[in-house]
Amino acid sequence: MRLWFWNLPVPLLLALRYARSSRREASVRFLSAVTAGGIALGVGALILAVAALSGFQTTLLREVLSRSPRLQVELAPGLDREVVRRIVTSQASVRSAQILLAGSGWIAHDGRIQACELLGVESEVPAWFPGSAGQPVDGIVVPDILALRFGLERGDTVRVISPRPTLTPFTRQIPRTRSLPVASIFGAGRSEEFDARVAIPLEVAEALLWGTDLRVDVDLPIDRVPAVAQKLRAVLPAGAEVVTYRELNRALFFALRLEKVLMFVGVFLIVAVASQALVSSLALLIASKRGELGILGTMGLTPAELRRTFILLGGLLAGAGIAIGGTVGCVAAWVLDRYRLIALPEAVYIVDFVPFRLRLGPDLLPILLATVVLTLLAARTAGSGASRLSPAQAMRR
C-alpha cells in the first residue's frame, strides 16, 4: 500500500486511478490516444510554426539592423546640427553620432548614367553600410553591382550629378557636378536597397544637395534604443525628429507580427479540435463509470470534487499530449536549425535555409498557456456534466 498516494486529495487520487484504468477499456483508450495525439500534434506544429517565424524575424531584424541606423534624428532646415549632436552624444549608452545628408542624384562614368541615392557622410562609412563600414570616405563608395555595370575599379573617377542646377547670369541652368575617385566598392549582397546607394563626403553632398534631409545617425546598443529615443524626444529642440529602426521599418515589423498571430491562430485550431476530442473522451469515460460515480456520491463526494476529478483527468491526458508535442516540437526545431535541413534558394531569400528560433517567454509560454487553458476548459465542460448527475440518477439502471 502506497500511503503517499492515499494522502493525495481525493479528486487527484481518483483521476490518477481512472487514468490508469482507462487504458483497459478499448473505446476509451482509443479516444484518449486520439486526444493526447491531437494535442501533441497541435502543440508540436505550433512550436515549429512559431519557431520558424521567430527565426525569420530574428534574421530579418539582423538584416534590418545591418542595413539601417538603429536610431536617427532628422533635422529640420536651419536647426544647428552640432547642438543636436552634442545633446545626442551626452546620452548614456550612445557610442557615436554621425551627421549624414541624404538626397537623390545621378552618377555618370564613361557615357553611362544611373540614378542613385547620394549619402553624404562625415568621415567614414557608417556602421550599417554593408561590407565597408568604418572605411574612410575620401572619394565615392559604390555598390559592387553598380561597379560591375559601369566597369568601375578602385581609383576610377566618377561624376556625381545633382538634381539642383546652378543658375547663371546668362539664364542657363548648369548641372551641378563633382568628380570623385572610387574610394571603395562594397558588396550589396541581396539588398535591392543598396544596389543604387553611394556614399560621398559630407561637404561634397552639401555642395550638391544643399541642406536637404540632414540627419544624425546614432549608434547604440539595440536594447537601449527605446529608452534613449524617449529621452531624446523630451530633450531635443523642436524640429528634431527622433526615428528608431522599428519606426523606419514599421510595415515590415507589422507584417511579421501579423503573420505570426495569424499562423498561431491557424495552427491552434488543431489544438481546438483535439480539445473537442478530450470532451468526447471524458464524456465516454463518465458514461461508462456512471454507476461508480453514483456510489462515490453516496460516500459523500461533492459535485465540485467530482468535477475536479474529471478536470484533473483531462489535465493528465492533455499534459501527456503537451509533454510529447512540446518535446518533439522543441527537438525538431533545434535539429532543423542546427543542421539547416530546410534549404531555401539563395538567390531569392536573404537566408539559404529556414531558421528556427524558440524563446521561452515570447514563444513557448503563450503556446503552452493557451493549450493548457483550452484543454482545462474542455475538461471542465465534461466534468460539469458529471457533477450535475445526482447519485440517485447515476445509479438508476
Binding site: N7, V10, E292, T298, M299
Partner: protein, 224 residues
C-alpha cells in the same frame, strides 16, 4: 451511535415525456434510534425511491425528511454530500464496489473523503475486513472476489465511518440463498453491535422477518 429518522408527506413523481409515474403518494414514517426496520413491497413499489429520499440521494417533490434533527431541505449540494459522508452508510444490490480499487481501497475511500489521514483509514479498513473475515482478500480487486465477498466488502465500506444510520437496498438480492443469508447475518450483527439505526428494503419476506419491524409499501403509501 444512532439517529431518529422522520419523514412527513413524501411525494415523488418521475416524468418521462408525457408519461408520469407517481411512485410515492405521501409517505409518513418515524424510525426510532437504534431500530432495524424492513420495508417490503413488490418490485416497482417505490422501495428504492424511498430509500434514496431518506438517504439524501434525491429530493422529494413534496414532504420533509429529518435525520437526527436535521431537515434535509436546509442542506445544499455540497452540504448534503458531507452529511451523507458523516451520517449514512449504504449497501446496495448493484454497483457495490468501485472496480478500479482493491477491497481494502474501497473501504478506505469514505475515510479519505471525510479528510482522515491515509494511515488512519488504512488501519480502520484492515480492522473491518478482518472483522468480516476478508483480511486475506484485502488486496484483491472486485473482479477477483465472489458475490458474497463483494457484498461483505460493501458492508465494511458502509460501516467505515461508523455512521449512525445504515440504509440497505436489497442487500442479498444478487446473492444465492446461502450466501445471502450469511451476508444478512453479518449486516444485522454489525448493526446491532454498533447500535445503529437501520432501514432495509427487500421483497424477500425471509429477510424482512429478521428485522424488528416490517413496513409494507403499497401503491405509493407506507402501511404498518
Amino acid at each position: 451511535m444512532s439517529v431518529t429518522v422522520r419523514a412527513r408527506g413524501l411525494r415523488k413523481t418521475y416524468r418521462d415525456g408525457q408519461l408520469q409515474v407517481e411512485v410515492l403518494k405521501g409517505v409518513d414514517l418515524e424510525l426510532l434510534s437504534g431500530e432495524l426496520v424492513a420495508i417490503v413491497g413488490p418490485s416497482g413499489s417505490g422501495k428504492t425511491t424511498l430509500l434514496h429520499l431518506l438517504g439524501a440521494l434525491d429530493r422529494p417533490d413534496q414532504g420533509t425528511v429529518e435525520i437526527g434533527g436535521v431537515d434535509l431541505r436546509t442542506l445544499g449540494g455540497a452540504q448534503l454530500a458531507r452529511f451523507r459522508n458523516r451520517t449514512l452508510g449504504f449497501v446496495f444490490q448493484f454497483h457495490q464496489l468501485l472496480p478500479d480499487f482493491t477491497a481494502l481501497e474501497n473501504v478506505m475511500i469514505p475515510g479519505r473523503i471525510a479528510g482522515h489521514s491515509a494511515r488512519e483509514v488504512l488501519d480502520r479498513a484492515r480492522a473491518l475486513l478482518a472483522e468480516v473475515g476478508l483480511e486475506q482478500r484485502a488486496e484483491h480487486f472486485p473482479s477477483q472476489l465472489s458475490g458474497g465477498e463483494q457484498q461483505r466488502v460493501a458492508i465494511c465500506r458502509a460501516l467505515a465511518l461508523e455512521p449512525p444510520l445504515l440504509l440497505a437496498d436489497e442487500p442479498t438480492g444478487n446473492l444465492d440463498p446461502a450466501t445471502g443469508r450469511r451476508a444478512l447475518d453479518l449486516l444485522i450483527e454489525l448493526q446491532e453491535r454498533r447500535g445503529m439505526t437501520g432501514l432495509l428494503a427487500t421483497h424477500n419476506p425471509e429477510v424482512a422477518n429478521r428485522c424488528a419491524k416490517v413496513w409494507r409499501l403499497e401503491d405509493g403509501l407506507l402501511l404498518p
